[in-house]
């Protein structure tokens, strides 16, 4: 992983969720530069949007990970995305998705990274028990 190619990330969540998600990921992978956290706590929609915008690089690829699309965080991120075709907005962030992003943002192509976030975030969700079919 080369520092120059590392895609920066912004994690936007309710409350302290983002802070703790990143802290947990760093306990697994070590410190993560070029990774910012924003909370919606106590912020007006305009204030939240301005804070996210201030953390984005002026140009180039960036990934914004948000806990819930259709909420105040997701709405602010979707407004930020306007006019930024190099911004990838990833909704429903979970720990598997975040780890995948942090592990591959320095090496994967944008298309590959996009596919990895979706696949890993979704496949990280599994239900065991109460099931019609359970692996032996």
């Amino acid at each position: 992983m080369t520092g120059e190619r590392r895609v920066p990330g912004v994690l936007v969540t309710h409350g302290r969720l983002g802070l703790e998600l990143l802290r947990t990921a760093e306990s697994i992978l070590g410190p993560q530069p070029a990774m910012q956290v924003v909370s919606n706590s106590g912020k007006s929609p305009e204030g939240l949007q301005a804070e996210i915008e201030a953390l984005l690089p002026p140009s180039g690829p960036v990934v914004v990970l948000v806990d819930l699309l259709g909420g105040s965080c997701g709405h602010a991120c979707a407004l930020v995305r306007r006019g930024r075709p190099d911004l990838l907005l990833a909704g429903g962030v979970n720990l598997p998705m975040l780890l995948e992003f942090l592990c591959h943002r320095g090496s994967a192509s944008p298309g590959d990274l996009r596919e990895r976030l979706l696949t890993r975030g979704r496949d990280g969700i599994r239900l065991l028990g109460w099931a019609e079919e359970e692996p032996a």
Binding site: P45, G71, S72, H75
Partner: protein, 167 residues
């Protein structure tokens, strides 16, 4: 005219509304009354796309709602979300008096605001305006979630006056 809920919230349609109130009240529609969103096709589309399953999201400018609220179709299944106090003020001064009152549910900190409640931050002119609306007979109350304490018009007036006096 009785709506399911009329709420003032600068975040409009978001988690507290969809999961908190929507879960408790089971609306068929959310109606966003906000001039800025009504004038912005991109943002309007975002809210419409965020409609929970089985629900419709509609957006109206304040003036359009002001002239139609008394005969709103399916009002009893509709949650009305007003984004700006200026819009609320215009509606109320034009005679908007929904049965059940109007909830102040979320106005967040901005430059020049004081904290009236954890979820209610207002400028002094806004506080004066709200006291004026209470004086004019608007049934305003403060409550952020269905399970939270409801501060009725009298309690709200005392909170507003207290916040004003503290400055």
């Amino acid at each position: 005219m009785s709506f399911l809920l009329v709420r003032v919230d600068d975040r409009l349609l978001h988690g507290q509304v969809v999961f908190g109130w929507g879960g408790a009240l089971r609306p068929g529609a959310y109606l966003i009354v906000d001039d800025r969103v009504a004038a912005d096709a991109w943002e309007r589309g975002l809210f419409e796309a965020a409609a929970p399953a089985g629900c419709r999201v509609e957006v109206r400018a304040t003036e359009e709602f002001a002239s139609g609220w008394q005969a709103w179709p399916e009002a009893r299944r509709t949650i009305v979300l007003i984004g700006e106090l200026a819009g609320l003020s215009r509606l109320c001064r034009g005679g908007f008096r929904p049965v059940g009152g109007i909830a102040l549910g979320g106005l967040h900190a901005r430059p020049g605001t004081v904290e009236v409640l954890r979820y209610l931050h207002l400028t002094l002119p806004e506080i004066a305006d709200l006291i004026g609306l209470l004086d004019a007979g608007c049934e305003l109350y403060a409550q952020d979630l269905p399970t939270a304490r409801r501060h009725g018009p009298g309690a709200l007036r005392a909170l507003l006056a207290g916040a004003m006096a503290s400055r």
